[in-house]
Symmetry: C2
Subunit: 350 residues, 2 copies
């Protein structure tokens, strides 16, 4: 049995979207043959949603938590002061109950990262957890970014860990074989970039079991030539937000331009199915959440405005990570890498 917690509050469409996703997951026994869910949040409101959906199951329990952490709460204050919130209740259960594998939340990112790091803790060997979202590429594939913003200051060993953790994640959850790992840099040549990039390049090159293919310039993110891009959280955040921003701004401009002429409107009408597909393609709701890699329990952060479909995707991500024992395997691999490193160091010291 895989047990997961759904934090039912804190998102724009909470608790409806979160509860509905939980119900959808429990009904889909083909995708989730072995799932049991715990919903945290205001019990009355959650029950009202379940009643609305006429759903009842012994694989679903509610854990009452009257408070909600919202995005105006300062993360460190939130986790200290809002102990009875749906998110902190979930975090506490994760820490205390070994039979629970992970959680999904659409609440405050800052509070979730802080709580995950301070209360749930890191896997053995992990320096810092990393956020790893996945984007669609122009040729129908996907590309992951690790780290997309959990750590604005990084060292080379952290970046190597982001690479290893995300590569194993892509294999386990998306079935990508030997993911092509690239280092985000200002040019493709090996000697490009600052010290962080140069040292990370050298480390990635010698990491066993990693299909490192070299540097990548940000313009190639969606090209389909790479499965995983490794970067510090500052650059990763700039990368993902500018890519999403440019696509959205362009679509918006197209829309404005089309509405300026009757002829264009007619043309657009003929192309309606295509535009709909395009919009669907860029709809982040279809791509689930951002996984926080490196914490002791599986943690998936859904978008603040996640719909039920999107939360369902998050549940699937968490389920597959647990099903594949991703955390256990990652821990073993990272510990082996650290052991090797300290051996090398000892050799040098001798």
């Amino acid at each position: 049995m895989i047990r997961l917690i759904i934090d039912c509050f804190g998102g724009d469409l909470s608790p409806q979207a979160n509860v509905e996703a939980a119900v959808m997951a429990l009904k889909d026994e083909k995708t989730f043959p072995d799932l049991s869910l715990i919903l945290t949040g205001d019990a009355e409101k959650i029950q009202a949603e379940l009643d609305r959906l006429s759903f009842k199951s012994d694989r679903l329990t509610i854990e009452h938590a009257p408070e909600v952490i919202d995005c105006n709460d300062k993360p460190t204050d939130a986790i200290r002061l809002k102990r009875e919130s749906s998110m902190m209740k979930a975090i506490r259960m994760l820490r205390e109950d070994d039979t629970i594998g992970g959680m999904v939340s659409t609440g405050s990112t800052g509070a979730l990262v802080a709580a995950a790091t301070l209360r749930v803790g890191r896997l053995k060997g992990v320096i810092r957890p990393a956020f790893c979202p996945v984007l669609p590429t122009m040729n129908g594939g996907i590309v992951a970014i690790s780290d997309s913003g959990a750590n604005v200051e990084c060292n080379p060993e952290m970046l190597r860990q982001f690479a290893v953790m995300a590569a194993r994640y892509l294999e386990a959850v998306y079935g990508v074989k030997e993911p092509r790992v690239a280092l985000l840099n200002v040019g493709v040549e090996e000697e490009k970039g600052d010290d962080l990039r140069k040292q990370t390049y050298a480390l990635l090159k010698e990491t066993p079991g990693l299909n490192f293919v070299g540097n990548m310039e940000s313009r190639d993110l969606l090209s389909g030539k790479f499965d995983l891009v490794v970067c510090d959280g500052f650059a990763g955040n700039v990368l993902i937000k500018s890519t999403e921003g440019a696509c959205l701004q362009m679509l918006k401009k197209l829309k404005t331009d089309i509405s300026s002429s009757l002829l264009y409107k007619l043309g657009a009408l003929l192309m309606l199915p295509m535009f709909k597909k395009e919009k669907e393609f860029m709809n982040y709701q279809n791509y689930g959440g951002s996984v926080l890699l490196g914490t002791k329990k599986v943690i998936v952060k859904g978008h603040g405005s996640a719909t039920a479909t999107s939360v369902l995707k998050c549940i699937e991500q968490a389920y597959r990570m647990e099903m594949n024992n991703l955390n256990l395997k990652t821990e073993e691999e990272l510990c082996a890498l650290l052991a090797e490193k300290s051996e090398q160091k000892t050799e040098v010291d001798n």
Copy 2:
């Protein structure tokens, strides 16, 4: 008389595009009432282009330089070994001849930055020169990025100088009044980001004559809400390349999707003028080059594949910078800032 050098080799369309742009500039006495140009490169080839265009003028001279620096040359080797290249000849003349105001090149970026910094030198007070390209925004305006890649490692005072230099540049060349300056960051709140961002935020806030409006997330680059984005060269490079990359990849995808159906093709035909406008809007050839701010002489780097129109824009950028005495004014302002800073320091020390 404003005297500028055109490095006629090193670009994909060199020397044709470069020579043609020089001729166009000299013919347009309304935009350039007071211009004289020096063309560096293989004299025979340049003369052949001039003959092809049947152009002759006593405001144009050729300086023979048989070698060409290409993008495979390592920058530091190139400036040391290819002394007889069109670029290094231009750099030498810039350094030695006080009557020459600046240069335009479509050659190797790395070599140009290295030569500009090492041979031409910085303005008094400038810690490091910065690249400052300009992009079109979705509402028909422009936005500048400073630095877009000349410095991958920066400190807060450097970022403040990038802001001041670029703000004065926008005023002088594009007539932007009190440019709205933003700091690229992972969130809009003041306390966001790493130490570099936090310290830079504090510095920008207290800089006189700077219209600092706070942090900007990369997704808002093209929104039209900002005139200038300040960042270290690594983040700036990620920002500009991912924005351009996403726009181009999207256009490419639209094109592929359109060609998949006869109905879509018909629709696109009706929208042809719009698509053409869209393509023109995103065509970087229309936006001139990236200015290297902070060097003793004006240096404009055109795109490697710059057409004549694009090189002409670069000449216009250089001309306006010279006409407005931008370097002199920038130098005075930066020196005043540094003096103020050392005064504050002395006060603290006392």
